[in-house]
């Protein structure tokens, strides 16, 4: 593993005008390209000893309900049908959608699991078995109750989505580990209906484009890896060798055009990608028990199981940041039906992923993060037996990669509406992910418009107690 280049040593304009070799950018190619410009070879990352080398971000788009998953609230059952008590209502942020009428009990029971005895909803029995490996933060909090901007907040830090995604920052900080695959891959599942994925979520913002995520359809794989009918591998080799010759002749006539040099190299990488990608997406060689535990052959888990298994295969092959976006949690009506469906879709595959990573010895070096863009209200929305959006207090979890499992951080009020203890902002959350990778969020800088930009623009510091043994 070596970094793409040092974030401290580059001038923005130099970089933007000499665009560099991109995804899966091999450090070899880049270092030769950059040799002339580099005035420091300090790695971008490694502000301190990292506990994780890569991230699998399980992004639960739509907003899973905290009080029905990881934040049990017996009070809610007692107060069901009543309004939010005065004492608690006072602290509910006065934002739209924050309904104060008609509290709704969770339809599900909670049970304690593992040595830690952390309670998890009966919706997630398989994830619950891993509870001793999970660090649950129950006090996530921000102010944006709208999906699109909320998703941008959760993944980039601002509602406008005009900044780099957390995946892009991670890649910028640590560089790529693979020469064959994109180093940041996003898979977007269940994107139908009102859940339009926000491109900012895998965007590079003002960072150079090679840090942006590559969107991959888990069913179809990476686009355009299939050669046109009639083209064989050997004729492709012929094509590439002639192409390189002609392109080198052209470059000689111009001299000094790093971008053209990079473009020539990108064909080598493309060829490797074309070869590596089908292998990545070919699950036929996975043993039967893997297919079974990920649920590849059952209907509710088929797609998500494939996504989770691919995530594991990707990080095995050196992908730095895998984002699996699973949409559909937007339970405005019929919470029961929605969350039962979403959990039956995700619980098994996510648990299988954790087991699998552990068995392969990958969990220690892989930070697994589970989070939505916000949570849901403890009150009922209208009469529809659903819950509205609520960013005032919601739960996320971390696992693997140096995470101290079996612990709960933060607390919400007695009805699970508002984070009352150790509130954690999305910026803190991002700083925590970076911290897990050995990156200090206020030292990871990129000069943009004369300002040294950092991932956590509005402050934010790592929740350090997430890590440790």
């Amino acid at each position: 593993m070596s970094p793409l280049f040092s974030p401290h040593s580059q001038s923005r304009r130099q970089l933007l005008t000499r665009s560099l070799a991109g995804i899966g950018a091999s450090s070899v190619a880049l270092e030769s390209l950059l040799a002339a410009e580099k005035n420091s070879s300090t790695p971008a990352g490694s502000h301190f000893q990292p506990s994780a080398k890569r991230v699998i971000f399980l992004f639960m788009s739509g907003g899973p309900s905290q009080v029905d998953t990881f934040d049990p609230k017996p009070e809610l059952t007692k107060l069901a049908g009543k309004d939010v008590p005065e004492s608690l209502a006072a602290s509910v942020p006065r934002i739209k959608r924050a309904g104060l009428k008609n509290l709704m009990a969770s339809p599900w029971k909670f049970q304690q699991y593992g040595e830690s005895g952390i309670p998890v909803s009966e919706l997630l029995p398989k994830t619950a078995e891993h509870v001793d490996d999970l660090c649950i933060i129950r006090s996530m909090q921000h102010r944006n109750p709208v999906h699109g901007p909320g998703e941008c907040v959760a993944l980039t830090g601002t509602g406008a989505g005009d900044r780099p995604s957390i995946g892009a920052w991670s890649l910028y900080g640590l560089g790529s580990e693979t020469e064959d695959l994109p180093a940041f891959i996003s898979m977007n599942l269940h994107t139908d209906g009102m859940q339009y994925p926000q491109a900012a979520g895998w965007g590079a913002g003002f960072l150079p484009p090679q840090f942006q995520g590559t969107v991959v359809d888990p069913e179809k794989g990476i686009r355009d890896v299939k050669m046109p009918g009639g083209t064989s591998l050997s004729s492709r080799r012929h094509q590439l060798s002639s192409l390189e010759k002609l392109n080198r002749l052209h470059l000689e006539s111009l001299q000094q055009h790093p971008e053209l040099e990079a473009r020539i190299r990108s064909y080598e990488m493309a060829f490797r990608l074309q070869t590596a990608a089908p292998e990545l997406f070919d699950l036929s060689k996975e043993p039967g028990y893997i297919r079974t535990t990920y649920g590849l052959d059952q209907s509710p888990t088929k797609q998500t199981g494939r996504g989770c298994l691919l995530a594991r295969r990707m990080i095995e092959r050196g992908v730095r940041f895998v984002q699996l976006r699973i949409g559909g949690w937007d339970a405005h009506g019929n919470l029961k039906g929605n969350h039962e469906r979403m959990c039956s879709m995700t619980d098994g595959p996510i648990a299988a992923l954790l087991t699998d990573l552990k068995q392969r010895g990958l969990l220690d070096s892989t930070l697994v993060v589970w989070a939505g863009e916000f949570g849901r209200t403890p009150t009922m929305e209208g009469k529809a037996n659903g819950r509205d959006h609520s960013p005032a207090g919601y739960s996320v979890w971390f696992a693997g990669g140096g995470v101290k499992g079996g612990q709960i951080i933060g607390r919400t009020d007695p009805i699970g509406y508002v984070a009352t203890e150790r509130p954690v902002s999305p910026h803190d959350f991002h700083a925590t992910i970076l911290h897990g990778l050995g990156l200090q969020s206020d030292k990871l800088t990129w000069n943009h418009h004369g300002r040294d930009e950092v991932p956590t623009v509005f402050g934010g510091s790592a929740v350090e107690e997430v890590f440790g043994s």
Binding site: A25, K96, G99, M194, Y196, P197, S235, Q239, L251, L254
Partner: protein, 893 residues
């Protein structure tokens, strides 16, 4: 005094209705009294809660008395059947609600409504389904309204189930109320109270309100010693009420003088054209400036590029398409003239501008609703370039087209620039939603025309540039009276008006029926009904009528545009498109819209009202008289000959779109943090030349295209490279990669597949792969742009894009070698070159022909040898695919 301030805060926080001198008429303000301010409320013909108070704590006791005085101005008073009557209530609720919230459904309302025989009467109710009426309301007469709310038991969670009303009672409690109503499901505790107006409360209605008191007994209500239950509205965190009472009448503090010596804010002065030694090389004044700088740096310019390179360069730069043949050197100027003003030129240069305008065909964010009529703006931009529209006019139509008289549909279409703002349809808070739109418009306008990064000033004074946070909201105020929407492109006439108003009428009546049904079923307030669901609730007859109206409206030409019924002299209609919760679009509503300073950019932290004006650093107004406060005023200023930025920013963009880099490298940032111009005199000379030529864009282009600077070859020079490694002085031509669109379009053009038809609705994404039209006609949905376009670094259509990036990622070669479009086009060319044979290996002559066709030149000997290899082991189409991947093809030579 403290009481006064508390009300002041309240008005700043909420008041958009209370205007002018009549805002506050303080009567008396002794300590320990209830709220004592009088104020006047007008309607907006929409549901509004102009005045809201919070209680210091929830009230849950058994009995609550309330008192207020009301005087309804007679001239605004109408009753059935001549008018539609009046509506005005005081409500008591547990929730504050939003400005548009209806406080109904178990919520006590005490006020005025149309009663028996169509007369306006005092009224009490818990929901609109059942009302109890008191005496008739007369105009211009002050009434004292007293009401009592009672619980059946003293329990804190018992309902305030009985509501009684007295109008003009004496100080002793009368035996019988004037009206009584009961609701066992009423609320049990009260935290917020306020006044509502609604549809029947028109703009002209004036209601004087005052002496609001709440107390737990009748006696307390009429004694002046009882401590008030009312408390002031809590100010948002960090918000200090900025205006002391005396300054309320002022819209905002007088602007402080802002000065700067940053070059781009200083006046443009036309420099003399330099006289470099090598004057023989000077073909246009551009060369004189460039050569002068080169000579001073002791760098030689590169020799003239080949005719092949020049023909391709000119064609690609101007049209984004490759030429068919090489043009002889003595005909290049004429060739330029042919291309300038061609449709293909308009398409390429129009696309450049669409990047700047962050134009797209959907709302963005997660609903991302399509804007089916946004394509008209795209075509307007193209047509403007084709027609050689002067830049000042180009600017004016985009900023203020709806204000230009006489009416022309194109001018309205041009405001699609403003209307291209992104917004979330999922945003329930209308104030936030509207603010998001205005922020987007302000940022884009500043960046596009001024080259300023104003967005920083939304929350704080700009860190680098002489732009204050006040400036930001002043600039925003120019846009506040308008609204984006599908504007019908002809002046309203009775038929249109009728169709639109019938459509809304029918829609609204069904919608309120659904609301009432839901409310009756116990749905808590506010009852939301998604517009999309409304047609489903119609009776068959209504459905038929609705379909007829809708089809009438759908036949009318429309554009996604920006229109202000307040500042436009034209009477236009917004087509009733199904956006989820429509923003205000009626003249009456938009007239009352004000722009306020927002603390930290937060919509709920409102400061004083601000009037339209441009940033103070550019100087103020000599006089406030004769000011229109319209967007035309803004356009006048932007296109004034003295403006230091408009012309500089535009000629710099033109330069960038020829050379790949502007004279100011940061073409979207002329501020302090931006780059300094490489050739400041040339920039200013071009800027004055632009203005003197009547803002003639093509004139500037000719000066560039005819220059020897533009016609240099790409030859490398060690000496020059050492002295100017970045080629900032332009000692050679730097080849640059074609944009996404130009790559695809060029391939289609070379294969002969390109469908050159112009304009019209976009090609749906689903059929984009089959389409062979130019790329800019493919549907531009936010967050879902065509794959190839994203892959090759198109603008994201979210914010203004001044310059596209060039990434080099391995997915690009995959597209260029494997995508079915490439496969299809290479087969097509192969069939043209060698139609008869289907031999496995291509002939060297066919490959030679393909090379000639794609690069417009013969291969060199070395290349010929390399091409020979292509004939081994590849088919002709595979060989052609290789040629499409040559850097020489993909880069502007």
């Amino acid at each position: 005094m403290s009481r006064f301030v508390s009300i002041t805060t309240l008005l700043l926080f909420l008041g958009q209705i209370l205007t002018g001198d009549e805002v506050l008429q303080l009567t008396h303000s002794g300590q320990g009294e209830n709220a004592t301010a009088f104020f006047e409320i007008s309607g907006t013909s929409e549901r509004q809660n102009p005045v809201v108070y919070s209680l210091s704590e929830s009230f849950e006791e058994e009995t609550l008395f309330l008192h207020y005085r009301i005087r309804y101005r007679a001239e605004g008073l109408d009753s059935l059947p001549a008018g539609d009557g009046e509506f005005f209530v005081f409500w008591l609720d547990q929730q504050k609600g939003a400005n548009q919230s209806t406080h109904s459904g178990g919520i006590p309302n005490i006020g005025i409504h149309v009663g028996p025989k169509g007369a306006n009467r005092f009224m009490v109710r818990y929901s609109s389904a059942q009302e109890s009426f008191g005496p008739v309301l007369e105009g211009d007469r002050e009434y004292r309204v007293v009401a009592r709310l009672e619980k059946k038991s003293a329990a804190s969670d018992a309902a305030f189930s009985r509501l009684s009303l007295w109008v003009d009672p004496e100080s002793e409690i009368p035996d019988t109320p004037d009206a009584v109503i009961e609701d066992p499901k009423a609320l049990s505790s009260i935290r917020w109270v306020g006044f509502s107006t609604a549809r029947k409360t028109e703009v002209g209605d004036r209601i004087l309100i005052g002496d609001l008191r709440l107390a737990s007994s009748w006696d307390a209500l009429f004694s002046n010693t009882k401590t008030s239950l009312l408390s002031e509205i809590p100010a948002p965190p960090g918000f200090t009420p900025p205006a002391p009472p005396q300054e309320i009448a002022e819209v905002d503090p007088p602007p402080e003088e802002v000065t700067t010596d940053h070059w781009s804010f200083l006046p443009v002065e036309k420099p003399d054209i330099p006289t470099p030694e090598g004057s023989g090389w000077v073909r246009t004044p551009v060369d004189a400036f460039i050569l002068d700088a080169l000579e001073r740096a002791e760098i030689s310019h590169a020799p003239l590029a080949s005719n092949t390179a020049l023909t391709r360069r000119i064609s690609l730069v101007l049209t984004g398409l490759p030429p068919k043949d090489v043009v002889p050197s003595d005909q290049l100027d004429a060739y330029i003239d042919t291309l300038l003003g061609s449709q293909a030129y308009g398409e390429r240069w129009g696309r450049h501008w669409l990047d700047v305008a962050r134009w797209a065909e959907s709302n963005g964010h997660q609903h991302n609703r399509p804007r089916a009529h946004a394509w008209r703006y795209r075509d307007w931009v193209i047509d403007s370039f084709v027609a050689g529209k002067p830049y000042d006019q180009f600017l004016r139509e985009q900023i203020a087209g709806d204000e230009i008289a006489p009416f022309h549909p194109d001018h309205v279409i041009a405001t699609g620039f403003l209307a291209a703002a992104r917004y979330s349809g999922n945003e329930l808070d209308k104030a936030i939603q509207r603010n998001d739109i205005l922020v987007d418009i302000t940022n884009t306008t500043a960046k596009a025309f001024l080259g300023l990064t104003m967005e920083c000033a939304q929350c704080h004074d700009h860190f680098f540039d002489p732009v204050t946070q006040w400036d930001y909201y002043h600039l925003m105020a120019y846009f506040a009276k308008g609204q984006p929407g599908d504007v019908i492109l002809e002046p309203s006439h009775p038929e249109i008006e009728e169709a639109v108003s019938n459509r809304w009428g029918l829609f609204e009546s069904v919608r309120s029926r659904v609301v009432e049904r839901k409310r009756a079923a116990g749905t808590p307030e506010p009852v939301l009904v998604i517009p999309k669901s409304v047609p489903g609730a119609m009776t068959p007859v209504e459905k038929r009528t609705f379909a007829i109206i809708e089809s009438k409206i759908s036949d009318l030409p429309k554009a996604w545009a920006y229109y202000s019924p307040v500042t436009s002299p034209h009477d236009l209609e917004f087509a009733p498109t199904a956006i989820r919760w429509p923003l205000p679009f009626q003249k009456e509503s938009l007239e009352t819209v004000e722009t306020r300073f927002l603390d930290r950019g937060n919509v709920t932290s409102t400061g004083p009202v601000v009037a339209p004006r441009w940033p103070q650093v550019f100087g103020g107004f000599e006089s406030e008289e004769d000011r229109s406060h319209s967007r035309s005023e803004l356009a006048d200023w932007l296109t004034g000959p003295e403006h230091p930025l408009t012309a500089r920013v535009w000629v710099n963009r033109i330069w960038q779109w020829h050379f790949g880099r502007g004279l100011v490298e940061t073409s979207g940032d002329f501020g302090v943090a931006g780059a300094k111009p490489s050739h400041p005199e040339l920039l200013d000379w071009l800027a004055t030349e632009l203005i003197e030529s009547g803002w003639n864009t093509q004139h500037i282009q000719r000066l560039i295209l005819r220059s020897n600077t533009f016609r240099q070859g790409s030859q490398f020079s060690d000496n020059a490279s050492q002295r100017d490694p970045g080629n900032e002085l332009l000692w050679r031509w730097t080849p640059r990669r074609l944009e996404a669109e130009a790559i695809r379009d060029s391939i289609l053009a070379i294969s002969g597949s390109l469908d050159e038809s112009a304009g019209g609705p976009s090609i749906a994404l689903a059929s984009a792969d089959q389409s062979t039209r130019r790329s800019l006609y493919l549907e531009q949905r936010r967050d879902n742009l065509p794959h190839q376009q994203m892959l090759f670094d198109s603008a994201d259509a979210l914010t203004s894009c001044a310059k596209r990036r060039v990434s080099t990622v391995s997915l690009q070669p995959l597209w260029l070698m494997n995508n079915p479009v490439i496969a299809r086009e290479t087969v097509q060319i192969a069939n043209q070159l060698e139609p008869a044979t289907d031999s496995e290996a291509p002939s060297s002559s066919a490959i030679h022909d393909a090379f000639q066709r794609i690069l417009l030149r013969d291969p060199t000997d070395e290349e010929r040898i390399a091409l020979e290899e292509l004939t081994v082991g590849t088919s002709l189409e595979e060989a052609i695919a290789v040629l499409f991947n040559l850097n020489e093809f993909l880069y502007i030579p």
